[in-house]
């Protein structure tokens, strides 16, 4: 027995080696009969409804659904899989896929009947974000892209009729809103630290046809004249000089940001397209009807782009009854008996979550629903120009993303200069890459 093997046994094994009989006894009860499903707690009641429908259609499968607070989702998965457990079917962020595969949480889906058809039916970037090192790990939950969201009614009060195309225009328009006495801080951002990516920041960079890393995952954010530096400069200027960017941004999580938009407290925010479903819902929002989508402003107004993200369902490494788990997986992320991606459509119709299946773009019910909350042309255009982050396929992405969010906060509060910020990120990315080499 070499040292490595010994260590594995010592660290992970010993704890329950002594209690193996106990473990297998209770394991047998918990597994096999019931398929366990874990996800972050977005609309847990709707999920339960949808799962109940599945168990009605599949009376031989019992599903135990546990929603986990999103802020602790990744951490709880860590604990569960470390303990040799983990759910049979689970939600996954595209950000965390690489790490989860490397940590052996997930089982590849290649070769399972019907998976190829699903991958053929989703947008290519979506299929790519569910694939890691040539293997397929996820079935799609939703995919969406970031947009500039503006409150047309508030802009009108400041005499503004068209949304900004450049960051400079955005700042100037915000300043007009501020000077007109409409809002003290017209721009809001969800810049609080979180486990999931700061999509807004990536969107600002991607709008310039730029990236933080090159194709070989080498950091390029600190190159002279980089878009990242310019974006940080702009953030600093908007936060500290013109003071149009809400200083509370660094404590704002996405949900409070949504609430503030719906209370009419921001004229501009960066948010995913689906957020408009709620923003323009009169039963939830005071400003329903006034909130509109626009492309993410770039530095010079000549480039177009934004970031897209994907959420998926995966199969846990320790899934006991693979057949039943896969049936649930396909119910959630695949087609029903009529060839309709039922769950994906369900989420779009209920909450506006972006559909991953390209055919849904022509579905009359979907088209009708889009019209109720957004301009279909801008909506479609954002999807066309959106890019997924390729860097999420490095195993150190979680650490880098945390560093990125910290640095962005420091820029926003004036704790560091944009030039130092990008240098710092560059250095951290290189250190991380080295540590994981």
């Amino acid at each position: 027995m070499d040292r490595r093997q010994f260590l594995r046994a010592a660290t992970i094994g010993t704890a329950f080696a002594a209690a193996t009989p106990l473990l297998s006894a209770c394991g047998a009860k918990a597994r096999g009969d019931v398929v366990t499903l874990e996800g972050w707690d977005y609309e847990a009641q709707l999920v339960q409804q949808n799962v109940d429908r599945f168990t009605r259609l599949n009376p031989d499968v019992a599903v135990d659904y546990t929603p986990i607070t999103s802020a602790q989702f990744i951490q709880k998965l860590t604990a569960e899989f470390l303990g040799g457990g983990g759910p049979d079917v689970l939600y996954m962020y595209d950000d965390s896929l690489a790490g989860s595969v490397e940590a052996e949480y997930l089982r590849p889906l290649d070769g399972i009947e019907g998976v190829d058809a699903i991958y053929d039916a989703v947008y290519p970037s979506n299929a790519a974000s569910m694939t890691y090192q040539g293997k397929r790990y996820g079935l799609p939950y939703y995919t969406d892209s970031q947009a500039l969201v503006y409150n047309a009614a508030l802009l009108e009060k400041a005499g503004i009729t068209t949304p900004p195309k450049t960051l400079d225009e955005l700042e100037q328009q915000a300043l007009r809103v501020k000077k007109a006495g409409v809002l003290e801080y017209p721009i809001g951002l969800p810049a609080q630290l979180a486990d999931t990516a700061a999509q807004w920041l990536w969107a600002l960079v991607y709008a310039n046809d730029a990236d933080l890393f090159d194709d070989r995952f080498q950091p390029v954010m600190s190159a002279s004249g980089s878009a990242a530096t310019a974006v940080f400069e702009w953030l600093r200027h908007a936060a500290l000089d013109t003071r149009v960017l809400d200083p509370a941004a660094v404590q704002t999580l996405p949900v409070p940001l949504d609430n503030a938009v719906m209370a009419g407290r921001y004229a501009f925010v960066l948010a995913p397209r689906y957020a408009l479903r709620s923003y323009n819902n009169p039963s939830k929002s005071k400003v329903a009807g006034a909130v509109k989508l626009a492309p993410v402003p770039s530095l010079d107004g000549r480039t177009e782009g934004t970031v897209s993200n994907s959420r998926m369902y995966c199969l846990g490494q320790h899934a006991a009854d693979v057949e039943k788990s896969v049936r649930l997986l396909k119910y959630l992320g695949g087609f029903d008996a009529h060839g309709v991606p039922y769950t994906a459509k369900f989420w779009f119709l209920q909450r506006g979550l972006g559909y991953p299946f390209s055919a849904l773009a022509k579905d009359p019910e979907v088209v009708r629903t889009i019209r109720t909350f957004a301009d279909p042309i801008v909506y479609g255009r954002l999807a066309e120009v959106a890019r997924a982050r390729r860097i999420i396929s490095v195993p150190w992405y979680a650490e880098f993303e945390a560093a990125l969010q910290r640095v962005a906060q420091q820029v926003l509060v004036g704790g560091t200069s944009p030039a130092d910020a990008v240098q710092d990120l560059d250095r951290q990315a290189r250190t991380l890459a080295q540590r994981y080499a």
Partner: protein, 295 residues
Amino acid sequence: MLRLTDTRRAYLMNGPAMIVLFALVAYPIGYSFWVSLHRQNLKRPKATKFIGLDNYFALWNDPAFLGSLRTTGLFVLVVVTMTVLLATALALVLNESFPGRGVLRSLALLPWAMPGVVNGLMWRTIFDAKTGALNGLLTSLGLIDTYQAWLSSPAGAFFLTAFAQVWNTLPFAVILLLAGLSTIPPDLYDAAKVDRAGVFQRFRQITLPWLLHPLLIVLILETMNSFRAFDTIYVLTGGGPGDATSVIAVLNVKTALTYTDFGLGSAYAWVITLLTLVVSVGYVAALYRKGSFEL
């Protein structure tokens, strides 16, 4: 028949507690130390390797760790100092007799009943930039013109977090000190009054010496608590803005559970333990020399 010596009897009596405590703590402690001697990241299962103390040596070049060590040190200093000063003042007041003392005494226990997480939530609504009570209060007193985002500046976030932590831990210290004060024989004060000792003299010559032992306990327990402080900070700022409130417990949880780097995470945890130990031993030794401490 086995004769029960004092030592045997004592260990028999300690048996149940020792079994529970050491069975449940010794293994985890040993485990985490063992892991801290390895390169062990869940995301790199095949790269797990025994590396001796390398994780510990690496800490001295780890800016995230050094930064959070500074933050933690300052946090402990601020929290412990504020707690001790406020708790002493409050305990001294509560030791006087005045109408309403019973009410104040009850109030003093209120923050104790509040779980750290709820404490964090409460202060978050108070410091809220848009609707918070602090903004409302200061505005109506005319001290500020517009609402401020209190937790957005690094210094503001740091001190307000410390403030929230102090509010939560104060009662515990007050109880200990109050208990200490209640044991001072009243005739000592009477004698001092006859000697025409002033308020401050009496405090220095009678109260303080009697309070040394409870103060020591307060110092040790509060230091241990604030080194470990997590709940309030986690809910209030999550470690931000930037890394202004990223104390070592917050960094530790992230490293182990989000980045799944257990080797490094365990090393962090051991450094906290050692620091706490060193500081506590320091307190004990200082008071031991003064002859006011015994086990």
